[in-house]
Amino acid sequence: MKKNLITIIIAAGLVVIFALLLFTFQVRQSEVAVLTTFGKPAVNNIEDPNLYFKWPWPIQQVYRFDKRVQNFEDKYSENLTADNTMLLTSVYVGWRISDAKEFFPKFAGGSVEAAQRQLETILRSAKAAVIGKHNLADFVNADPHQLKFEAIESEIENAVQNQLATQNYGISIEFLGIKKLGLPESVTQTVFDRMKSERQVLISKWQYEGEAKATEIKSTAERQAADVIANAQADATRIEGQGVAEAAKTLSVFQQNPELAIFQLQLGALKNSLNQKSTLILDERTPPFSLFQNLPANSK
């Protein structure tokens, strides 16, 4: 009896495992699954990761798809802008399978490569249409209001998105951006020539500007210096004037006897003028040499 029990348990276990393998399937986090019954896809995609029930093959069959965002970049290709500039662009696209039951009948074996080939075709025409509507100034511009880079990107994205929706490919675009932007090889050479002449203009501009600024700074400084000195001289005159005014206060003292004042002044001037290194020519009328002429007599 005991042996049988073990056998039964083991057998039951095997049956359960076998049944689980036959009747269940798992969907991973990154996957979406489509369950077909006799080849006809179910209405809903199975999006959530979990363990699911199914009837064994050939009744029901599971198709799994990667629903993660796939990166796709198109070829670096030439398009003409509205102002007839040949522009090279390459675009990167983050796309994913948004509706697996629509996706897998349209592309052989639900192949990502096949889908990307289709995407490239759609992208090519969308790019040509959008770039053809814009001028080069919309792609490169120092004025942020005139730069339409992001608008161009979203125009391409919308065009692709619309096309995908109309055809119902089961694909959606998560993001799209311009990855590379360039000019044809022959144009790069003319750009270099232009850049070179622009550089030369800059060189002479810097030279001229340096000299002009330097001269300006120096002449301004000299003018300011002259102003400072002129102000100082004005101050000096004012200060001297103050001195004279102060001195005038003592005038009343001298007014007591102008004769003495003048005599003193003259005497001082005489002393100052006949200082060293002067030659004095005198005769007997000049005191004290007047002594030679007549000695003072005794007054009676």
Binding site: R28, N71, Y92, K179, G210
Partner: protein, 368 residues
């Protein structure tokens, strides 16, 4: 006979018993072996659940396809871990380092790793081949080379790992998200260059350009919901090799301009401070002249007040005395004194003067 018969009779069942006994024995022992094997199997199954995670990787356990541990804690770090056996649990390993790094691919001319190692450059042709040489077009339609290196870390592993395909189906890695970050860096470079002028990118606003690129990368990473956080975005830009010389000449011209201006500024300082000093000395001289003048007048006034009574008592005598006193001083100081008495006949005397100015003395340190 009967004995024998009995014996014969009894013999076969005995052997049968022994046989079945041996069989049962064998079965029992094989059951034991099976049991042991089963236990061993179970143990093995559970033991097989142990797995190690290395330092340069993380692991995620998928239970029935669903990552365990929630969005933030699903990553298992280095060490020993255990999971239920497949197909219940499935361990996926993701090569991941703390900081990921990607570089842009679109803005630089074609080099080979050997050249980069050697620090040499491929020879510059007259033009750039769009298929192999990368560059960006600036707002003023110049062509330059620029490259961005973005460092980032995984902020939301659930999104970064399970939302972006890294090429092959059913394989999990971060190639998809790193690809997306790289393309964000590419787009950011192209777009930012398209709104900056060449001189801003290369010299005047290098930092502003770098910042704008970083900002754009951040914006894209957020908008595209990549589940990563940007740590740093480094940008380097150079003029095309074809125009290296002429760009350097501009730099030199600009440096010369700056030098001229700086020289002028220091000259300005010199002129102004000299003028300031001169002005101060003019004012000081005036001040001291005033002081001297006022002091002299004041002392004259004092002397006057003192002398006045003496003068008033006998003006003539006072004047004579003062004059005589002054003459004494004058005659002491005067260099040459010529006394010329009057002619006896009272006629005026003729006197010829040969005025010879003293030769100007050369100014020197010894004789200022």
């Amino acid at each position: 006979m009967s004995d024998i018969e009995h014996h014969d009779h009894s013999q076969p069942p005995e052997t049968q018993d022994a046989g079945s006994q041996a069989l049962a024995e064998a079965l029992r022992s094989s059951f034991v072996i099976v049991k042991i094997a089963l236990v061993a199997l179970v143990v093995m199954i559970f033991a097989a659940g142990f797995f190690t995670v290395g330092p340069q990787e993380k692991a995620v356990i998928l239970r029935f396809g669903k990552p365990q541990g929630g969005d933030q804690n699903m990553l298992l770090g280095a060490g020993l871990h255990w999971s239920l056996p497949y197909p219940i649990d499935e361990v996926i390993r993701i090569p991941i380092t703390e900081i990921q790094k990607v570089s842009s691919t679109v803005g630089w001319y074609a080099t080979t790793p050997e050249m980069e190692l050697a620090g040499t450059e491929p020879p510059a042709g007259p033009s750039l081949n769009p298929q192999i040489d990368g560059y960006v077009v600036t707002a003023d339609r110049n062509i330059i080379h620029t490259s961005a290196t973005v460092s980032y870390h995984i902020d939301d592993p659930g999104t970064a790992i399970f939302h972006f395909a890294g090429g092959t189906n059913r394989i999990f890695n971060l190639a998809g998200v790193s690809n997306a970050v790289q393309n964000a860096a590419n787009e950011a470079l192209i777009l930012t260059a398209a709104r900056f002028n060449v001189d801003d990118i290369l010299t005047a606003n290098v930092h502003g350009f770098e910042e704008a690129v970083g900002q754009r990368v951040n914006e894209l990473v957020e908008r595209e919901n990549l589940g990563v956080a940007i740590e740093q975005c480094q940008v380097k830009s150079i003029a095309p090799r074809q125009l290296k010389d002429v760009f350097e000449m501009v730099t030199t011209a600009r440096q010369n301009r700056d030098k001229l201006i700086n020289d002028a500024l220091s000259k300005q300082n010199q002129i102004l401070s000299e003028a300031g000093a001169q002005a101060a000395s003019i004012v000081n001289l005036a001040e001291s002249a005033r002081t001297r003048y006022v002091t002299a007048i004041t002392s004259d006034a004092a002397a006057f007040t003192e002398l006045l009574p003496k003068y008033e008592s006998n003006p003539n005598l006072f004047a004579q005395l003062e004059l005589a006193k002054a003459m004494t001083q004058i005659l002491t100081n005067v260099q040459d004194k010529i006394f010329l008495p009057q002619r006896a006949d009272g006629q005026p005397r003729e006197l010829r003067l040969q005025l010879n100015r003293e030769p100007p003395q050369p100014k020197s340190a010894a004789n200022p």
